[in-house]
């Protein structure tokens, strides 16, 4: 029944190689519905991993299983090398920040934060000191005697954070903690959480469906889809080198060209597509004759008006299209083009370039992109059909 965090922290260093949290083959099934379908994950001490995915992709369920609020149908979870599967939530010693804060409405802020310490039978004097510390940590000194309903959303969020951190759990789970805040406050809190992560060296699993949030804070992002981790990696890796159409479409925006691999050229491969022959980076296990889809970010496409200023290298891929629509976005402009074969393509151009070109609906333009900026992706049998319809023509 000893719930003091100290044995964990000493073991920490020893178990460094293994990682603080190890998840193996996690599954959760409600009747015929599979919510989590074989999740594996290893979290290093001090790492910030974000679970990103649409609602119903299994990310929150996975989080709740880690916290012990739901039981897994199969699989194992180890915290600091110790199996925690049989432990009820109150013996797991994991901090959780809930979606709508879940502050106890009948207790003052100080009592809320003191709660986990009281549960661990920490002496009263130390509780008082640590509550003060925790309040200072989140910038809420002097708010201890207020009640949750007297605080703004952002302040309640900070209290929830302080409450989850005050007992120094080896692992902190956060379930869409900023979902209820407005955009400005959300950005401010993102920086705050990043700061706390750096200062405390906490290991954090963060759940969100907001890709920007994921990019801002995470060391690594795990993209969830249909109860599985589609891809896990650093933000840049996921953005620049997505391994599936889902990841390329969910994290940022992408143009997709379906086709078939014609030839392999080292890192690159040549693809036959209805839009014409394309050259793209080979991402994954592609052989000649395989179906593939090429993903290109709208900002990687450039419009070649006459004498292209693309000095950094000639784009290997060139296509022609007609401007359908121009959307003014302040920093940039978005063009909706229609290619000769009828496919629609989105191009994003910096404001200055856009002003120079002065394109409007009906104009015929040439567009091009570097092969290194295009990813030829593996197409899973079956799943590509459904995804193709969502994003495609």
């Amino acid at each position: 029944m000893s719930r003091s965090p100290s044995p964990g922290s000493t073991r920490n260093r020893g178990a460094m190689a293994e990682g603080i949290l190890e998840i193996e083959g996690l599954r959760k099934q409600y009747g015929p519905v599979v919510a989590v379908d074989g999740v594996d994950l290893s979290l290093k001490t001090g790492e910030f991993v974000t679970f990103l995915g649409p609602s119903g992709s299994g990310k929150t369920t996975t989080l709740q299983i880690i916290a012990g609020l739901q039981s897994a149908s199969a699989g194992h979870i180890r915290l600091n090398g110790q199996a925690i599967d049989p432990l009820p939530p109150h013996q797991r010693n994991i901090g959780v920040v809930f979606q709508h804060y879940a502050l106890f409405p009948h207790m003052s802020i100080a009592r809320n934060i003191a709660f986990p310490l009281e549960m661990r039978r920490v002496p009263a004097a130390e509780i008082r000191r640590r509550v003060e510390e925790a309040l200072a940590l989140v910038g809420l000194e002097g708010y201890g005697q207020r009640h949750p309903r007297q605080l703004s959303g952002g302040q309640q969020q900070r209290v929830a954070l302080a409450r989850a951190l005050v007992f120094r759990p080896p692992l902190l789970l956060m379930d869409e903690p900023l979902g209820a805040l407005d955009k400005q406050l959300r950005e401010q809190m993102q920086l705050e959480i990043s700061r706390l992560h750096r200062e405390l060296g906490a290991s954090i699993v963060y759940v969100t469906h907001d890709q920007e949030e994921a990019l801002v804070m995470s060391d690594r992002i795990a993209v969830f889809n249909h109860g599985r981790i589609e891809q896990i990696g650093a933000s840049e890796e996921l953005y620049e080198r997505p391994r599936s159409r889902f990841v390329a479409g969910f994290l940022g925006e992408s143009n997709f060209f379906e086709g078939r691999v014609e030839a392999l050229q080292g890192e690159l491969c040549r693809i036959a597509s209805p839009a014409g022959p394309l050259l793209a980076r080979r991402n994954g296990d592609l052989a000649v004759g395989d179906p593939t889809v090429v993903a290109v970010r709208p900002e990687r496409l450039c419009l070649l008006d006459g004498s292209a200023a693309g000095g950094g290298g000639e784009p290997e891929n060139r296509l022609e299209g007609r401007v359908q629509e121009v959307v003014y976005l302040g920093l940039s402009r978005k063009y909706l083009l229609r290619l000769a074969d009828g496919q629609e393509v989105v191009v994003r151009q910096q404001a200055q370039d856009a002003e120079r070109s002065g394109l409007g609906p009906g104009d015929l333009v040439r567009l091009g992109w570097r092969a290194a900026n295009a990813n030829a992706l593996e197409v899973a049998a079956g799943s590509d059909e459904a995804d193709g319809k969502e994003t495609g023509q």
Binding site: R3, A67, G68, L69, P88, P89, H90, Q91, R92, N93, I94, G95, V96, F98, Q99, H100, A102, L103, F104, P105, H106, F115, P116, M119, R120, R149, R163, A164, F167
Partner: protein, 275 residues
């Protein structure tokens, strides 16, 4: 011009409608409350019969009431029934409501319906059934029998009141408490119970009032030896009526008012504390 006239006509209509509604509300309010007030006044009457307005005030009918061992005995019997009944009903009802709210029982709706059944089934049927059953097992005219029967009738109110409160309490608060290190029992005591306490008290009060006021089942299963005050009142009402009945009625009414007031206070405290 015509437009303005139309508008003012509509405005006049609205004012009339408003006044009519106010008048209706006053009349209905009187209809609801006045009878009780009249009984209250008559109970202090100095006249030897039920007349209104009373010629003068006196406490003779209360003297009569408390001086009469039959009335006193029945009052005590009623209290002997209502105290265990309300405690039992509150414990059973709260436990059941919590179980229904927090477990994922497949037949939760059916169980909830079953627990509410004593309110839906006409009391006369319940009373006749219990009477027949108790005759067989010898519980007729006993205190335990009356307590059990009254508990059956009051449990649904506790289940409904506490259940409603639980449906408002965010289940994530309990999840949060669990992740912060609270065992299920501690979690209930420190988080859930304080949040639903007003409803539990409200259920307790309502169970008390319901038991105190219960007549029909008691009528069947009580005997002259164990006879709650409502049954005593019933047998007197049908004979010759004197203002002693008004005094006992006033006592019952006062008890209800006190309970209502306590309930109001409990709810107000919760409204101040929880939101």
């Amino acid at each position: 011009m015509t437009g303005g006239e139309e508008l003012s006509a509509a405005g006049r209509g609205a004012v009339w409608w408003h006044r009519l509604r106010a008048l209706i509300c006053v009349l209905v309010g009187l209809y609801l409350v006045a009878p009780l007030v009249i009984v209250l006044i008559i109970s202090f009457s100095s006249a030897p019969f039920l007349s209104f307005p009373p010629p003068g005030l006196s406490l003779q009918w209360y003297d009569n009431l408390f001086g009469n061992p039959v009335w006193l005995r029945s009052l005590i019997t009623s209290i002997e029934i209502l105290v265990p009944t309300s405690i039992l009903a509150t414990l059973l009802g709260t436990a059941a409501a919590y179980g229904l709210a927090r477990s994922r029982l497949p037949a939760a709706a059916a169980i909830q319906g079953f627990l509410m059944a004593p309110v839906v089934v006409p009391v006369i049927i319940t009373a006749a059934g219990i009477f027949g059953f108790f005759r067989h097992i010898g519980l007729n005219g006993t205190l335990p029998g009356l307590i059990l029967a009254h508990t059956v009738l009051t449990v649904p109110y506790v289940v409904a009141t506490v259940g409603a409160a639980l449906s408002v309490v965010d289940a994530r608060l309990e999840d949060a408490a669990r992740t912060l290190g609270a065992s299920p029992l501690v979690c209930f005591r420190r988080i859930t119970l304080p949040l639903i306490l007003p409803a539990v008290l409200s259920g307790l009060l309502f169970a008390m009032v319901t038991s105190f006021d219960e007549l029909i089942v008691s009528l069947f299963i009580s005997t002259p030896r164990v006879r709650p005050v409502t049954v005593q009142m019933w047998s007197n009402i049908r004979g010759d009526v004197d203002p002693t009945i008004a005094a006992i009625a006033t006592l019952l009414f006062g008890f209800s008012l006190l309970a209502l007031l306590a309930d109001h206070l409990a709810r107000r405290r919760s409204a101040g504390g929880a939101r």
